[in-house]
């Protein structure tokens, strides 16, 4: 690869616990990306590091800048600042090369509805750098899609399956999926994820996908990034987040000021729930719990957080910081 990207380990957050990541190279390296969409700043100084071979969940609420980032990554939108490196290629100067080993499935279906399945397969084959006819036929059989079917007559789920067969047929080293399962029923979603994980991630390829469905992200993602208002809130391995991010539910007999809890080392956020408090803690939750007991806490419960809870906590924390006019997050790494 040209312009060999820096290692994943080297790009880790400064204060993050030093976890080893087995794959050193980056499939996508976004550095200080700034994008303007509809005359508004859609993405601001965004830096992402997508390790080769990982399943990378790209999360954020509506309007966070996910699709803008993905479209910029694919060369469909201009970037106003920063750089994007895909599989070792700079997308601004090596656009065609960067797309040779990249597969993309759009949020909204982008297949040619006037074609028959066989025509669309042939079109895609001719437009692809690599092609595995056997794999495509196997998928068409599996999904019960006939070559003579008209694409426009297929159901949304079948179109999604056809798009998946086509994208896998080009054997991409990097698969970019923008809300790939939106509109699919739970069974189709399960099957889709199952095929993706089996065919792509097990072959050592990289998946970069955005989704609103946090349970499916949690199911398959190795690394997640959460974006809000065009800024990165966090980027880390999912296991690492779960290991080091905990919630502590605490109750006191005597009233306690929020700021007394906020100054405890490791406490990132304090939320009052009646007479109880919910603390979001990064790092040693036991040490924080011990500190709370010293302060006279009646009950202290350490709770594991799932991705949804983490997502909400990070977003709430971000918004509270913005509302309290505290200095904006300078980079994804500054929180760690």
């Amino acid at each position: 690869m040209e312009n060999k990207p820096q290692s994943w380990q080297a790009s880790r957050p400064v204060n993050s616990p030093a976890l080893e990541f087995p794959l050193p190279d980056l499939a996508i390296h976004i550095n200080n990306l700034t994008c303007i969409y509809d005359k508004k700043l859609a993405v601001e100084k965004l830096s992402l590091h997508v390790p080769v071979g990982s399943v990378y969940g790209f999360l954020g609420p509506n309007g966070a800048g996910k699709t803008t980032t993905i479209k910029t990554l694919l060369g469909l939108r201009p970037l106003q600042g920063g750089s994007i490196n895909v599989l070792g290629y700079d997308i601004t100067t090596q656009s065609v090369e960067s797309r040779q080993r990249l597969g993309y499935m759009a949020e909204t279906n982008n297949l040619y509805t006037h074609m028959r399945v066989s025509q669309l397969v042939e079109t895609t084959r001719r437009l692809s750098f690599r092609w595995n006819s056997a794999a495509v036929n196997r998928y068409l059989d599996l999904f019960k899609l006939a070559h003579t079917d008209k694409v426009g007559k297929l159901s949304k789920g079948q179109k999604g399956q056809l798009a998946l067969a086509l994208v896998l047929g080009s054997e991409p080293d990097l698969l970019v999926l923008d809300e790939p399962t939106s509109g699919l029923d739970p069974l189709k979603r399960y099957e889709f994820l199952n095929h993706i994980v089996r065919e792509v991630s097990q072959a050592g390829r990289t998946i970069f996908f955005s989704s609103h469905n946090l349970s499916e992200v949690e199911q398959i993602a190795d690394v997640v990034a959460i974006l809000n208002e065009g800024k990165l809130i966090v980027e880390d391995e999912l296991d690492n987040l779960k290991l080091h991010e905990k919630a502590i539910k605490v109750a006191f007999d005597q009233p306690v000021w929020n700021h007394e809890l906020e100054i405890i080392p490791g406490v990132r956020q304090v939320m009052q729930e009646g007479r109880r408090y919910r603390l979001l803690v990064r790092g040693d939750a036991q040490a924080v719990a011990a500190e709370l007991r010293k302060m006279g806490a009646r009950t202290v419960d350490i709770v594991d957080m799932n991705l949804e809870a983490l997502f909400i906590a990070y977003l709430q924390g971000y918004r509270e910081r913005m509302e309290s006019d505290s200095p904006a997050i300078e980079s994804s790494n500054s929180r760690f």
Binding site: L74, V96, Y104, N110, H114, L127
Partner: protein, 247 residues
Amino acid sequence: MWYKEWLTVRFKLVLMIAVYTLFGGALCLVYSSRGTSYMKLFDYWILIGGVITLMIGVLGGLDTFSDEVGKNTLSFLLTRPVSRRKIFLSKVGLYGLGMIIIYPLISFVIFLADHTPHYFNNYGYLNGNYCNQEFLGVAAAEMINTTNAIIATALVLLAGLGGLALSTLVSIFTRSAMQTLTVTLVILLPFVVALAPAIQTTVYSIKFISFSNREDVTDFLRIVLPEMLLVVGLYIAGFISFKRKMF
């Protein structure tokens, strides 16, 4: 790329051939039922066929990009390892090539029909005078008419290709064929009206140009080159717009 475009363009090409054949056939039938005319069959073909060719060009480019933008399929193409130059070339190239082959071919057939002795009238021009071709001598009349026919065919073809280039350029910025048609006509109509006197002069100069003063190549270039440059300019503008436009 060409395969994908062929799947779309082939129906348009069949339609193009059908329109030209029906129009050419109808013209021959109507013309043959009339007596001696001031205008020859080929003149009608150039004048009315010219308008049809311009519209065929415009209609051919209406959905070049707008349809893909409207249906959100352009991302399918743009995320493949294919340069925008190839995408643009295949999109306008196949239909344009169809026009370049089909229109002159049918023009040639009409031209031959026009020169069938005793079927249509056999009058032509020499030094601006309307004369019987038998009087002129077949060779001289053929030379005049052949040169005129080539220049006129080239002009009409360029008008059609210009229409294709213009609607293709417009379709880059619109989201449906109807939007493209509206904008193209808004641009085209004042343009045609403004250029009408110049077109009339050009047609007149082709038709009445003195045989003795004719310099075939020079005339061809003098008359055709400006239009050719305009059409090439439109294609370049379309290509640059497509290359820079973010979808």
